[in-house]
Symmetry: C2
Subunit: 182 residues, 2 copies
């Protein structure tokens, strides 16, 4: 899709052509979900003192995008987020094993065992606690620490990068090592 | 154990005192295996181009030793070793799951299925292949790349550091991320 084709499609009207391209862009964004993100970068954050470190892999579609300052800043921010939130264990809630979720539900149920509330109310409370569990353990569900407002989620940060870079951006994996744990 | 005590123990003979201390040191080394290595450092190596990265945790007993250049050089060398050898998957052969070893043996057996050799000869060949598998996949069993002679194993490197630093030195864990793999 080049500019001439866009101008043709909007009968030579420049504003119309821009709008056409933007709409085209949005259509492409929907298609992106099926494209493969096989390039990207591996980045590390070592906290001063060297007792805590994070390694993260974030994928995009091309080496060209992987080399942009924009993408690299995102990866750096994500690595620092993982370092800053000790409870971070999974990329997203889809990555939490079913057995872990069931175990959490069990713990919540036991915590409220002596509360005389209707079963459906208890289930709603359990859902709420599970939601908090996701926010603590799943990177994409966490509020972005560096933002500070609590309103920007990591998921938003990644979505915004996808929109700006016009490529799929996927947090592939990370690890967080802290001396003395485990 | 101070120098005066050592001199007393060797009746004031300086050379004898040094020998006494060295023997004492060796005795301490044997004791070290039971001491806990809970301090240490986390270090990263990112290969130029940022498509490959390693995060490693190496433990020692005190923050004092963790801050020495000697210890930090060791950790850096180990991280680069893991980066340099794509097959590195375990810290030592003790960390390889029994199921993985059994699977390897099975593959070797199938590879030699049509060879008419006595069973005990085949088993010896399988043992040899398994030994090579350990050398490829287990960090401590690998020859130290940077040395180049092929005669220094990573295990030796760690043992030498233990002797110099007079503390237990333990490779706790590592990961190796390469963009596009898995």
């Amino acid at each position: 899709m080049d500019c001439k084709a866009a101008l043709d499609a909007s009968n030579g009207d420049m504003e119309g052509a821009v709008e056409y391209l933007r709409k085209k862009g949005l259509a492409d964004a929907a298609k992106k979900a099926h494209r493969e993100a096989r390039d990207g970068m591996v980045s590390a954050y070592i906290h001063p003192g060297s007792k805590l470190g994070v390694l993260i892999e974030v994928n995009c579609e091309t080496d060209f995008v992987a080399r942009t300052g924009d993408f690299q800043q995102l990866v750096k921010d994500l690595a620092m987020q993982v370092a800053g939130v000790a409870t971070t264990a999974y990329v997203s809630r889809e990555h939490v094993p079913a057995a872990v979720i069931e175990k959490e539900r069990e713990i919540y149920r036991e915590q409220m065992a002596d509360q005389k509330k209707p079963a459906q109310v208890l289930e709603k409370i359990i859902d709420g606690k599970l939601e908090r569990f996701y926010t603590e353990t799943c990177l994409l569900d966490q509020p972005f620490l560096k933002d500070g407002s609590g309103k920007v989620k990591i998921k938003d940060l990644v979505d915004q990068a996808t929109a700006r870079l016009q490529e799929r951006v996927v947090v592939k994996r990370f690890v967080r090592f802290q001396v003395g744990e485990a």
